[in-house]
């Protein structure tokens, strides 16, 4: 009953459309199947190669994956009475780590903002230099924080400042890329409107683009802040101080100080959860409010 009243010329026309569409569908299905096949092949072969080169071997080793966490947990559980004290003891170290993360996120975000606006089509001050600024951001992203930190620690000596510079450098590249993608979707009409009043490029960006993109920028920045907390904890392992240094002491000691390791993990987890909650609240406020 929903079928068309098939009659004469109309029916042959419909058949033609059906046939040509079916050809298209078959071609698409073939491509889909091929893609799936290649994907499976790559997965299997990639896994096989990785397993071959692995010193221990995945199939023998994976059962022991949980041994270390289990050791830490059982020891921490035995000494659970001491954990609250340890939390208080390590809290200043956590503050130092968060401090590094906050400073580097701020500096990185400011630098990233400038790089992003300079490398976004339609907004850039010098459109011809867009590729240059893009490559600069690529380089900033490509170099791992830990490499920059090691070099800087070698030159400047250990401490929070080299870690801060290293993380800020990487953050500028990463946020610049994300910012630029958001700014690309911004509405250009307000920018044109401001341009018609004789505004400078900085005025157009600050007053025409930023209000549109601010909520997205903010949420990317807060996400980056979370990542940077973790990054600055890791840099503690190579001599940047903060909670990472304490974690290294606790873990390299081996059994006997696992309660400290557990307390540090708890602190890190708590800090991440705290900032996640905080960021989602402020982001919602910014989107709804005003």
């Amino acid at each position: 009953m929903t079928d068309a009243a098939l009659n004469g010329p109309s029916s042959s026309r419909v058949n033609r459309i059906q046939d040509s569409y079916m050809v298209q569908v078959r071609r698409r299905r073939m491509y889909g199947g091929l893609t799936l096949g290649i994907f499976v092949l790559l997965m299997v072969s990639g896994f096989a190669i990785a397993d071959d080169r692995n010193a221990g071997g995945f199939w023998d080793g994976w059962r022991q994956v949980l041994d270390f966490p289990a050791d830490v947990m059982s020891e921490a559980w035995e000494k659970r009475a001491e954990v609250p004290g340890l939390l208080v003891e390590f809290f200043p170290a956590l503050l130092e780590t968060i401090n590094i993360a906050a400073a580097s996120t701020l500096i990185g975000a400011m630098l990233g903002l400038i790089l992003a606006l300079l490398s976004t089509r339609g907004l850039a001050k010098w459109p011809r230099l867009i590729p240059l600024f893009r490559r600069i951001m690529d380089i900033m992203r490509a170099v791992p924080e830990i490499v920059i930190a090691l070099v800087l620690i070698f030159i400047l000596g250990g401490g929070p400042v080299p870690a801060m510079i290293a993380i800020a450098f990487h953050t500028a590249g990463a946020l610049g890329k994300l910012y630029s993608e958001v700014a690309e979707n911004a509405d250009l009409k307000p920018v044109e409107g401001l341009g018609s009043t004789g505004a400078t490029w900085s005025q157009r960006m600050w007053l025409g683009v930023l209000p549109q993109v601010a909520p997205n920028f903010l949420s990317y920045t807060l996400l980056r802040f979370e990542i940077n907390i973790r990054a600055s904890a890791i840099l503690g392992f190579v001599g940047a101080g903060g909670i990472g240094a304490e974690l290294r002491h606790a873990m390299s000691w081996g059994p006997g100080r696992f309660d400290e390791a557990a307390a540090i993990f708890l602190l890190l987890f708590g800090a991440i959860v705290f900032f996640d909650q905080l960021s989602s609240r402020y982001r919602n406020k910014m989107i709804e409010g005003q």
Binding site: T2, D3, A4, L6, R13, V14, I17, S20, Y21, G32
Partner: protein, 270 residues
């Protein structure tokens, strides 16, 4: 066939739909009119179970559909197709795929994720498109079509569901008059040829008059009129829209009927 009984929906302390009751005993084309915020869309959304009723019930062929859950609810939704003001198609997929979405309830999730539909369904989808006069657009992306064509794709998706009821929420509100006429005629034809019930929310009085067998007027969540198009006089319309004596039908429609009876009319204060 279809019975709404004391259907109520509250948002916070505001009653969007207030004690709505009416019965449809045979397939017909029903127009619901009223100004924006009168609760028309909410009624349709509760019929399709896109939103839940606060109290009251909707019975279809003796079964209370307001209490359905999970797979049963989805099954009801597949029998009660919905057409939206903004078409609500997937813009980046081609027209035929959009029409095939009408069969989602019958197919496995995995097969549909990879766009694998039986050939017979694909043929049927194109036949339905041909019935609505847009078979030529079959391989194009939905976003490449004009508004009127997109709305016909949405109707084709609804027909693909092979539904007992078609709900249309302001189907012509974002279309130009020419396309609006084509879409309304398509809905009317579906009612006449397939014997399906069509319930449409409409903005304009003349559309309701011209295409519907029965008109329900809503105001502030309540049904204030329920009758044939002939009974829908200017006075009644004024009541529905809550307009004063200066209300002219031209305000809501393109077809201007005479306003002779102005003096003794129900003119309620707005």
């Amino acid at each position: 066939m279809l019975t709404l009984d004391k259907l109520t929906k509250t948002f916070g302390d505001k009653k969007a739909v207030d004690n709505v009751s009416f019965t449809v005993d045979r397939p017909m084309m029903i127009g619901i009119i009223g100004r924006s915020g009168a609760g028309k869309s909410t009624v349709l959304r509760m019929l399709n179970r896109l939103s839940d009723a606060t109290s009251g019930s909707i019975k279809f062929e003796g079964r209370d559909i307001t209490r359905l859950k999970g797979a049963e609810r989805r099954n009801w939704q597949s029998r009660c197709a919905m057409i939206f003001q903004q078409f609500n198609l997937v813009p980046r997929m081609d027209v035929v795929s959009n029409v095939l979405h009408g069969t989602l309830n019958r197919r496995s999730t995995l097969a549909t994720m990879f766009n694998l539909y039986p050939d017979s369904d694909i043929h049927k989808a194109i036949e339905i498109l041909d019935r609505l006069g847009i078979a030529e657009q079959a391989p194009k992306r939905a976003e490449a079509l004009s508004g009127g064509q997109q709305q016909r794709v949405a109707i084709a998706r609804a027909l693909m569901q092979d539904p007992a009821i078609i709900l249309a929420d302001e189907p012509i509100a974002s279309l130009d008059p020419m396309n609006a006429q084509i879409v309304m005629q398509a809905l009317r034809r579906i009612h006449e040829e397939d014997g399906r019930t069509v319930v449409a929310n409409l903005h304009t009085l003349d559309t309701a008059r011209r295409y519907c067998d029965r008109v329900v007027g809503m105001r502030d969540g309540r049904v204030v009129f329920d009758g044939t198009p002939e009974q829908l006089t200017t006075g009644v319309a004024r009541d529905i829209y809550g307009a004063g004596a200066n209300f002219s039908e031209a305000a809501t429609s393109t077809e201007i009927e005479t306003l002779e009876k102005t003096a003794r009319d129900y003119a309620l204060p707005a």
